[in-house]
Symmetry: C2
Subunit: 302 residues, 2 copies
């Protein structure tokens, strides 16, 4: 990526992240609401420094089709709330048992396990409330909003993120083969990323052909994102990332590099960038952010 592209992308990402942060703050009940602890716990994790990748992808997909940003903001924020709930629950002692996330104590370390479970439940529940409620206010078509709720629930549910986490949980400490690892990555990470793009596309009135293209792009960068995550867990800079590196290896967790080796993992990542870009050929210049994001993912350090 050239320096100009780099700057253009950074400007885009920062601008859209600010929009998402402000909207999340507006949508979520104030920290002082009763009972305070559940709102504090929710906000603690929701504003813990997330990069807002899913909402930005949702917005960028809508923009690539000429859609209005404010029409997709509720769905974009809902996707971040669902992502945050999944992190809170995944960090629980009964799951991955993590004490740190983005350099800060995890939710249950601060608020206790009971409240961490409830804060996650509440974020998930409120995500659907947000799409149905604020989505309707934004003037989106009710049928489109139902499709978005349906698709997001599928991507986050049994045959998506939760299915992936269940297999991951079941696999820890066991020898995991390539197919199982692919299953985990596709479901635990790529499904929600893909539906982020589709949600933006649906609300922008995308044709079935454009939605298919966004799906292909999402599946490629979703897998890419996870492979780069795995690579960074081995080679990343712990200070930059705000979390321990090498943790996957220590707990015997299967990763791309551990199964196929570091060089093939890198090669696979490069192929995925090419495929992601290829899926966007029918889009015009308004899809530039999506193209830059795919290329940037390969080069990210955190």
């Amino acid at each position: 990526m050239t320096e100009t592209e780099q700057e253009r992308l950074q400007g885009y990402l920062e601008d859209r992240k600010t929009m998402v942060d402000r909207a999340l703050d507006r949508y979520l009940p104030a920290a002082g609401s009763y009972p305070p602890v559940i709102f504090e716990a929710s906000r603690y994790s929701l504003f813990a420094g997330g990069k807002r990748i899913r909402p930005i992808l949702c917005i960028a997909a809508a923009e690539a089709l000429g859609g209005r940003i404010d029409a997709v903001l509720p769905a974009a924020c809902a996707l971040e709330m669902i992502h945050t709930y999944s992190l809170i629950h995944d960090d629980l002692p009964a799951m991955d048992d993590d004490a740190l996330r983005r350099g800060k104590p995890t939710n249950h370390m601060v608020y206790g396990e009971g409240i961490a479970v409830l804060a996650g439940d509440a974020l998930l529940t409120d995500a659907f409330r947000l799409i149905a409620d604020e989505g309707a206010v934004s003037g989106a078509d009710p049928g489109d909003l139902l499709s978005v709720i349906n698709e997001i629930a599928r991507a986050a549910g049994y045959f998506g993120m939760i299915g992936g986490q269940a297999v991951d949980l079941d696999s820890e400490g066991k020898g995991v083969d390539y197919e199982t690892l692919q299953y985990i990555h596709r479901h635990k990470t790529a499904a929600l990323i893909t539906v982020s793009l589709r949600a933006g596309g649906i609300l922008a009135g995308g044709t079935p052909r454009k939605l298919s293209a966004l799906t292909a792009y999402g599946e490629n960068i979703g897998l890419l994102f996870q492979i780069v995550d795995d690579i960074l867990n081995v080679e990343g800079d712990a200070v930059l990332m705000g979390k321990e590196t090498g943790s996957d290896r220590k707990r015997g967790k299967a990763t791309y590099p551990s199964i196929v080796g570091m060089e093939p993992a890198r090669r696979k990542a490069a192929e995925l960038v090419v495929s992601a870009l290829a899926s966007l050929t029918s889009f015009d210049d308004r899809a530039e952010p999506l193209r830059l994001i795919a290329r940037h993912m390969m080069e990210r350090k955190t």
Copy 2:
């Protein structure tokens, strides 16, 4: 209640329960789906002998307004899935730490805490999928379905069930006053019961006036339900109920009888039945099941 009324109600409840059980079985992915454990765990709790009170109230409200049962079945089943998820999470060691529910080991005792958290998450997620997806198939108005999703998410979320559970969790072992207890009951139990009735009413095309009447009925029987639960926890028959009695007292949990005394609790329950019936005066004979349910709640033994 006369014997004929008793029989009529039993016939109605059994018939609607069968409909709900069949629909739940049809809507939920088969037990053999991959990864098996998450579907098994979900089905274990969903088919553990629940009385299906919330879905039946949803159906009865629709019927009271002349609505079609199949148009409300997805929402009715979603309400039962949300109720079941809340029981799974409430039973967790970090919450109420219960080993038995309806005479059977709780979800986490059978599948472990990690899967119990995920099974609850999945049931909650799939509940919204069901309304958006199957609801649309049933031919309901998309705007009405969005209202139902919005209202159910509110009733189950921060300012409803989860808020009530957070206060309950925070209160255990502390001296709880009457206002706090009312807050817990209204939010933890009555909110989901009330929205069950409203969802049925909305999907049956109820006028604002009819919806208000259903809301009043729901708030009354929701509180009634919880007070009778508290009374049964003191005086109920452990064998009939399939769970220990006296558990609230043992763990120092505040209940209606413990705060206001047993006789005032009974009096309050009787008043709530009267209020519930009064709120239905503008309904015709099609509301008979709702009237019988309110009267029956006072007399229930389990």
